[in-house]
Symmetry: C2
Subunit: 418 residues, 2 copies
């Protein structure tokens, strides 16, 4: 069974918006048992839209389109769909009522006139409810093939996919769905080719239908095991087998799996040992705290943070000595230690991590260039550890790497402790 996603929108082709919709849809379609063979991104251009529809409708059983369903003049997708299928647009009264109701509930006296167009549906198409916006999804099914067009605003696309499209596809293609599973092992502290040599030739341990992919990214390599087949039990067993083999060879570099983040792993580890954490942040400006508190349930282990961006705050709120700042500077091992130990005391936590550095683009010196970062990890009743990073990735990635470095430092301490 073949499926293609077509993403329409000039904003995608000029690089203003990243195509996150296609990723989300692919993931959900995989989980439902449908593999996506291609994603085609084109602009708001009738000719390009029609020629792409023509090829995709010929080559696939399922074609999913997003974008260009809004109420304004630049939304041309619906007219193109009607033209492609030789259908006229007819008023769909339940949709009109829903749109009117939506405006009322948002406190408008009356619906702006241009929204009447939202309720026009190509003949023979099903209008899919969209409780998050005014453009309904549109679905057409003929001769075993399905064509769907959805609004491009992510929350609206997700609503219509979840409530309209996916249930329809699961029902309609029940007999053709495959078991498609992926498992990703997350490593850190080892490069791609060294890891590949350690694991060896994948054909010696992968069963047919199972593949292994190496996905490097800044400071980490992800190993994705994928399997497809008719039996979900067999597919899971094949993945388990491959994982076991990889763990035997590279287990100590693996910190988690799938979407697990380093911060989630830390919240889990802290929860398991009933310990609490605080942070003292300068150049990361609260980013470590923000990441940790993104994890549901963080409140049971995370006390809080002192973001001491200005040096006066390092003194007044963390008790860093004026003399220390004067002698060693704000970006120094000594200051990092006093920040972490100050946070431990102020926040009353069992652990505290601190970061102080020069993220850039300005503020560097010959002795301490941009990208110089000091990390410290304080623990109640233990000696405070430190680490220096020397980064060169620009402000945003320098901050990101500093966060990862600090979290990794804590993860290793927790792994040793437990």
């Amino acid at each position: 069974m073949k499926a293609e996603i077509i993403s329409i929108g000039d904003e995608l082709l000029i690089g203003q918006v990243v195509n996150s919709n296609a990723s989300w849809m692919s993931r959900e379609l995989n989980a439902a048992g449908i593999a996506v063979e291609r994603v085609t991104t084109i602009g708001d251009d009738v000719k390009a839209i029609l020629s792409t529809f023509r090829r995709a409708w010929k080559e696939n059983e399922v074609v999913l389109v997003t974008g260009g369903l809004g109420p304004t003049h630049d939304d041309i997708s619906k007219a193109a769909v009607a033209k492609f299928f030789h259908k006229s647009l007819v008023l769909h009264k339940p949709t009109l009522r829903a749109v009117q109701e939506r405006f009322r509930s948002l406190g408008y006296e009356k619906m702006p006139e241009i929204n009447v167009g939202q309720a026009m549906v190509p003949e023979g198409f099903t209008a899919l409810r969209n409780d998050r916006g005014t453009a309904p999804g549109l679905l057409f099914h003929e001769d075993g093939k399905t064509f769907v067009i959805l609004p491009g605003v992510p929350v609206e696309m997700e609503f219509t996919m979840t409530n309209g499209v996916l249930p329809f596809l699961r029902r309609t293609y029940r007999k053709d769905l495959e078991a498609i599973r992926h498992r990703t092992l997350l490593t850190s502290g080892i490069g791609e080719s060294v890891l590949a040599e350690r694991i060896g030739d994948p054909t010696t341990f992968l069963r047919p239908g199972t593949t292994l992919a190496f996905l490097p990214r800044a400071g980490a390599v992800r190993l994705r095991i994928s399997a497809r087949g008719s039996s979900s039990r067999q597919v899971n067993a094949d993945i388990d087998r491959a994982e076991k083999f990889i763990r035997e060879r590279a287990g100590k570099y693996i910190y988690g799996s799938d979407d697990e983040t380093l911060e989630a792993a830390i919240v889990k580890a802290l929860t398991a040992v009933h310990k609490t954490l605080g942070t003292a942040e300068s150049c990361t400006g609260g980013l470590i705290a923000a990441k940790l508190t993104e994890v549901p349930g963080a409140s049971s282990v995370f006390m809080g943070s002192v973001v001491a961006y200005d040096n006066t705050i390092k003194e007044s709120q963390l008790g860093v000595k004026h003399d220390t700042l004067g002698r060693f500077g704000a970006v120094s091992e000594e200051t990092a230690i006093e920040m972490a130990e100050g946070a431990l005391k102020k926040l009353g936590s069992d652990f505290a991590i601190s970061v102080t550095g020069i993220a850039g683009p300005d503020g560097g010196t010959a002795e301490k260039p941009v990208g110089t970062i000091w990390l410290a990890l304080a623990e109640r009743g233990a000696k405070t550890g430190t680490k220096k990073l020397q980064l060169d990735f620009g402000r945003s990635l320098n901050r990101e790497r500093a966060v990862m470095g600090a979290l990794e430092m804590l993860r290793r301490r927790l792994a040793d402790t437990v």
Copy 2:
């Protein structure tokens, strides 16, 4: 002149990785005067790769491919390129030396054997230097057409584009380059269709070759004016003209333009009036501070933050009264006010914003359901303002919206002040 981007990688088709490379490349190509007509994403599959190469090489002057150039078994793109162009792979000694040197500088005794493959180049192709990794970019030019394949790791792709591909394209297609400009006006506080009615029919004020797009997203609508032409002066004048027209009709909803963020607008506004800011954050857990400190130059106006995730920290570090927490709860107008005023005092800033709420998924009650958020804005010598949000977007988006709400509150205060 037509250009297409082909992104290769199973990780893109299963939704594991968002195709941010295509966005970055499109933006840079536009800036260089080359419009991208299509982005095609396919998996690590020789048949799909070859058939896509065939169509794209026929339809375009410039074809840019990313992905599948790594050293491991799942990287098959280079072999596919060689096959498509009927070229054999030959050892490129300067690349081999560069790869060996890279491993040495990373502290390895010797280069892993599988990296020799990185230095194999299809005959007649130019190897493009990649100082950020081991896979060189590969460029082929024939009969006025250019084919390029680049590594998929973003920092490596960006390096080879910036240093190899873009200079080549600018030089080679000098006479065919267009002036392509975009300007985006960022609005908040007004819905898409109401904004469209206010602005009116765009054909009445847009010059030929100029377009206007409405890009709605959670809580804001972006208006993008685009223009293409042979004269960059004319194109800029056309955009200025459209902007002026739109500002006359909807100026008060526009808070910035292009990539400007709300946090950058605030840093700018605070800098202009020589005022400082601090934050007191509970459910946003440092996210406001993290966003503000992402802005270069934030250090001159941002003092720091107290992330009081745990209630004991609200008392000990912000001076929220035990009685206030007991009587009104942590998520209340009273607590938000005491947090903001406490931060003002503790951090010594001119302004302080506070957030306390229930981001979810747990922690809601009948009286205070998940998504209940209180914001407060304290200012030295002025009455503290508050605002309540009632959100329903899930933990992550609830936090994001709370951040935007707090920043917007401050932005309006600053706009009134100045």
